[in-house]
């Protein structure tokens, strides 16, 4: 009985923190999502107006669709880039010191803030930016490319730039834990380099791929600032929808959108977890 009480006491602080700062806000958002609002006030209620507006509006549907599009494209690109970088670091660099050095090099962009890293693309990609000048200088195009900046391209470019490291780290981490003798055993059994990749390395790296994917998906789906900056306010995602509502003090509507977004992200992640059991990795 005493030990039981002690265990409960030990678990209490974390429970309180999670209840106060995670559970309670979520419950409040959920409750507020049923409230009503006028142009100048919000009032407690239990009505489905916010949700029926959300699901009834074609604008909202298309914003969700473009959020999903950003997520999928960013996920695919960060996965390919992240896997390649991690593979290079884990299998081609023999020397541990060089390995760690290059790994730290990957983190250098994170020494500055998100916003600065994003904005630094603007002078590079703009009409008279470095990229266009270089392309025109080399005679590849005659006039500046308009789609380089303030487009879906630049949004995804920024996402990839911001979030690839979240893919590299967990994948690298699982890769370095692969026993090198497994690769020799595969070679001993006649596997080619590509067969080793598909039959041994990718299956054993799956948990790392999943953890990285969860990071990237959650970050991209919840983002609002990157889309605003990099699309020049021409594109929207769900995050921006919420931030606009908040700007207009339409809290109930923002809360309802948040609930839908939360559920969407949870569905996506639970689908991913269906494929891989990451628990044995943690």
């Amino acid at each position: 009985m005493r030990t039981n009480f002690r265990s409960w006491m030990l678990a209490l602080p974390l429970t309180v923190v999670l209840a106060l700062f995670l559970l309670l806000p979520m419950v409040m958002i959920f409750v507020v999502s049923f409230w009503g609002a006028t142009e100048f006030s919000i009032y407690p209620a239990f009505q489905f107006d916010n949700y029926s507006y959300l699901f009834g509006s074609s604008v909202v549907w298309s914003v969700f669709a473009s959020t999903l599009m950003y997520t999928i494209v960013t996920w695919v690109v960060t996965l390919v880039v992240g896997f390649t970088v991690a593979y290079f670091l884990a299998f081609h660099i023999r020397d541990t010191t060089t390995q760690m050095g290059l790994f730290l090099l990957c983190t250098i962009p994170f020494w500055t803030s998100n916003i600065i890293r994003m904005i630094s693309w603007v002078p590079f990609l703009g009409r008279n930016g470095l990229a266009n000048q270089a392309l025109m200088g080399m005679g590849i195009t005659d006039e500046p490319l308009e789609w380089l900046l303030f487009s879906d391209f630049s949004v995804i470019l920024a996402f990839v730039h911001l979030y690839t490291l979240f893919m590299v780290v967990p994948i690298f981490n699982t890769m370095v834990r692969i026993d090198r003798s497994l690769i020799e055993a595969a070679r001993d059994n006649g596997a080619s380099g590509f067969q080793i990749l598909t039959n041994v390395i990718i299956p054993l790296t799956k948990p790392g791929i999943m953890i990285g994917s969860i990071f990237v998906v959650a970050l991209v789906m919840g983002d609002f600032i990157t889309v605003r900056f990099m699309s020049g306010s021409q594109s929207a995602n769900v995050g921006r929808l919420i931030s606009n509502d908040i700007g207009l003090l339409q809290y109930p509507s923002a809360a309802a959108t948040s609930v839908v977004l939360l559920v969407t992200v949870m569905i996506v992640i639970s689908i991913m977890l269906r494929f891989v059991n990451i628990r044995k990795e943690l």
Partner: protein
């Protein structure tokens, strides 16, 4: 020794890592169908030699011939060798059956035929009933058999085993050791077994190849290497020998032929340091003239009849025919 066209031969094989020489100009013939133990202390080059034969390590100089064919630069799977790794290196994400069928899958065999062959191979090593398990669900001995089946399914002429028994507990080690020898006889292929345990080598090997400092110190049948050690290193490494200096020459003397004798008989005076009861024998350790460490294996009943205490002065004797001269 009779040479056959299927022999494995190392010709002046050298492995250098920068300035360090891991294997130095080793030439040796491994007769076909024999059980060979590559024996030696850690860092002597035995594992590097094995890995060069397997193709997991490049040969700096020299050639490796199998059945008269130079295999030194072929990829591992094209050599006619298969390797069983020290930690078994089973693929943790595949069932035992898929592990064994892996090489067939790489060759593009269809699932039905490769699963049938893998099943047969697993039956051979007595693992048929565990085919669906994952490696993590197997005991050490079972993992070892699965790894063996995976190596044998490639139909190698030479099976290379890198310390195959080191991960097993002592009782299992004895049993598996017997099974390995039996399997080798049944299959009639060569086994090259790397180990640092001289008892393992003596028990298993048709031929013992003892390496030290990147070269072969002595090679021969287990009897020859044990009974006629060429050098002091061999005598000491194989164990069961005392090394004596008599009239400026070095001799080895088996500990079980070393006796405690009456004070006036021929031999050497010594002071007992310890005695260990080993069941059938008692090992009496003593220090003789010139700080020579001596061990006498006395049958238990003789020791009980005339026990000695640590600190006691004794005379250690031997039959002159038991002294075996060593190369300097």
């Amino acid at each position: 020794m009779l040479r056959s066209s299927l022999d494995l031969e190392l010709v002046s094989v050298t492995k250098r890592y920068g300035d360090a020489v891991a294997v130095d100009n080793v030439t040796h013939l491994f007769p076909a169908g024999s059980y060979v133990c590559l024996l030696g202390p850690s860092g002597c080059g035995k594992t590097t030699t094995l890995r060069m034969i397997a193709g997991h390590e490049t040969v700096t100089d020299g050639a490796i011939l199998l059945s008269g064919r130079d295999i030194s630069h072929l990829p591992p799977a094209k050599r006619g060798t298969a390797m069983m790794f020290q930690s078994y290196a089973l693929f943790p994400h595949m069932s035992v059956r898929d592990n064994v069928a892996f090489s067939l899958k790489m060759k593009g065999e269809d699932a039905a035929s490769r699963n049938r062959k893998a099943g047969e191979m697993l039956e051979l090593v007595g693992m048929g009933h565990l085919a669906a398990r994952l490696p993590a669900q197997l005991s050490g001995g079972q993992q070892q058999r699965a790894a063996l089946a995976r190596a044998l399914i490639t139909r190698p002429q030479v099976l290379l085993l890198d310390e195959p028994l080191s991960a097993l507990d002592p009782f299992l080690r004895l049993r598996v050791r017997g099974e390995l020898k039996k399997l080798q006889r049944e299959l009639g292929i060569s086994f090259i077994h790397v180990t640092h345990g001289q008892d393992e080598a003596l028990a298993l090997a048709d031929q013992v190849v003892l390496m030290n400092n990147a070269v072969i110190e002595q090679a021969g049948t287990a009897r020859d290497v044990f009974l006629k050690p060429r050098t002091e290193f061999v005598a000491r490494f194989m164990g069961g020998h005392n090394v004596l200096s008599l009239e400026g020459k070095r001799y080895s003397l088996r500990t079980d032929r070393t006796r405690i004798v009456a004070p006036h008989e021929g031999g050497m005076n010594a002071a007992v340091t310890t005695s260990e009861f080993l069941g059938t024998h008692v090992a009496v350790n003593a220090i003789g003239a010139g700080d020579t460490e001596l061990t006498a294996m006395i049958p238990e009943e003789l020791f009980t009849a005339a026990p000695v205490e640590p600190g006691q002065s004794i005379r250690v004797g031997w039959h002159p025919a038991d002294l075996h001269p060593l190369n300097q």
